[in-house]
């Protein structure tokens, strides 16, 4: 039942009945896919943070750094 909790935990709520009725291995496929999508989003954020400042005009860079907490 760990698999089921993993998907439900990621979704922060109960699973729809038809999904809850799926075997654990199929729920795991769904849980893995959601995890991968989250990771892709986190990676996009990290890479954006690294490159964004270089595109921002120097005169507002300090204010922007402060606003995002860098």
């Amino acid at each position: 039942m760990t698999t089921k909790r993993t998907l439900a935990q990621q979704l922060d709520g109960p699973l729809p009945a038809g999904i809850d009725a799926l075997p654990d291995d199929q729920q795991q496929v769904l849980a893995d896919a959601l995890s991968q999508a989250r990771r892709a989003q986190a990676e996009a954020l990290q890479s954006a943070g690294e490159s964004a400042l270089s595109h921002i005009p120097f005169f507002i860079r300090r204010a922007v750094r402060k606003a995002v907490g860098l």
Binding site: L11, D12, P16, L34, Q36, A37, Q41, H55, A67
Partner: protein, 259 residues
């Protein structure tokens, strides 16, 4: 027949769920036997989870964006944020600023963003975009054959915006979009835009591009009168036989019984 139609709907929902998490649909073929409403609910939950993730950082970015001139934000969107983050941020920007940034971005990049966007969250921006921008982006999505994104927008934006985006679809493209559209109650309007003497083009497109599943799903969502018209005008003897064979394979023959 209900079971067969449910399976068609489950297939369409599976395609959309796969897109929401950026995976090939084949990975989720086991969902074809799950009630479509459950797959749709799961997709909504997954979309919520992804949009809810990293909110503190995204909010700081939105806050900082207020300090940055629009042309610089347009550059940042393309060179630093990319389509995924731009889509997440678009839903958190105020409408005027979002529209101003969008108008500085080329249609191919906006199409990339559209593919990642939940249109319900950015309707305040999309509905204020000039019709020419919507048309350009729709044209780009059509060129890419990104029917899922087109279908999501039809259900997620006001009717007049959807109309601008769909005005140039041919019958094959209508079938592709109709299969994955969220709000299938609008399908009758989509079909009625096509002249009656071209209904056979729907059937020929289904035959030529192996879109029988999409044709039958479309027929299932038309009111009985319009369905009867499409079937009676769209099927000549040759196509009628092939349509019946395909309908039997999918368990939906009653959709063709309109006499």
């Amino acid at each position: 027949m209900t079971g067969a139609l449910e399976r068609l709907a489950a297939r369409a929902e599976t395609v959309k769920l796969a897109r929401a998490v950026g995976q090939p649909e084949e990975r989720f073929a086991f969902l074809h036997d799950v009630p479509p409403a459950c797959i749709r609910a799961l997709r909504d939950q997954m979309t919520e989870a992804l949009h809810g993730a990293h909110q503190p950082v995204l909010r700081k970015l939105v806050s900082a964006s207020g300090l940055i001139p629009v042309p610089v934000l347009a550059t940042l969107a393309q060179k630093a944020f990319g389509p995924l983050l731009s889509a997440r941020l678009a839903g958190m920007l105020d409408g005027d600023r979002g529209v101003a940034i969008a108008q500085k971005l080329p249609a191919p990049f906006l199409a990339d963003v559209a593919a990642e966007l939940d249109p319900r969250r950015a309707v305040h921006i999309i509905s204020a975009l000039p019709a020419a921008t919507v048309t350009d982006v729709s044209r780009e999505l059509r060129r890419r054959e990104d029917w899922i994104t087109l279908g999501r927008f039809v259900g997620g934006v006001p009717a007049e915006i959807a109309e601008a985006g769909l005005a140039e679809l041919n019958e094959r493209q209508v079938l592709e979009v109709a299969f994955v559209i969220d709000d299938k109650s609008q399908l009758g309007t989509l079909v009625e835009r096509v002249p009656g003497d071209r209904y056979d083009a729907f059937v020929r497109a289904a035959d030529e591009y192996d879109l029988w599943h999409a044709l039958f799903d479309l027929l299932a969502h038309l009111d009985p009168g319009l369905r009867a018209t499409v079937v009676s005008r769209g099927l000549d003897d040759d196509l009628r036989e092939r349509a019946r064979t395909q309908a039997e394979a999918l368990g939906v023959t009653s959709l063709l019984d309109v006499e």
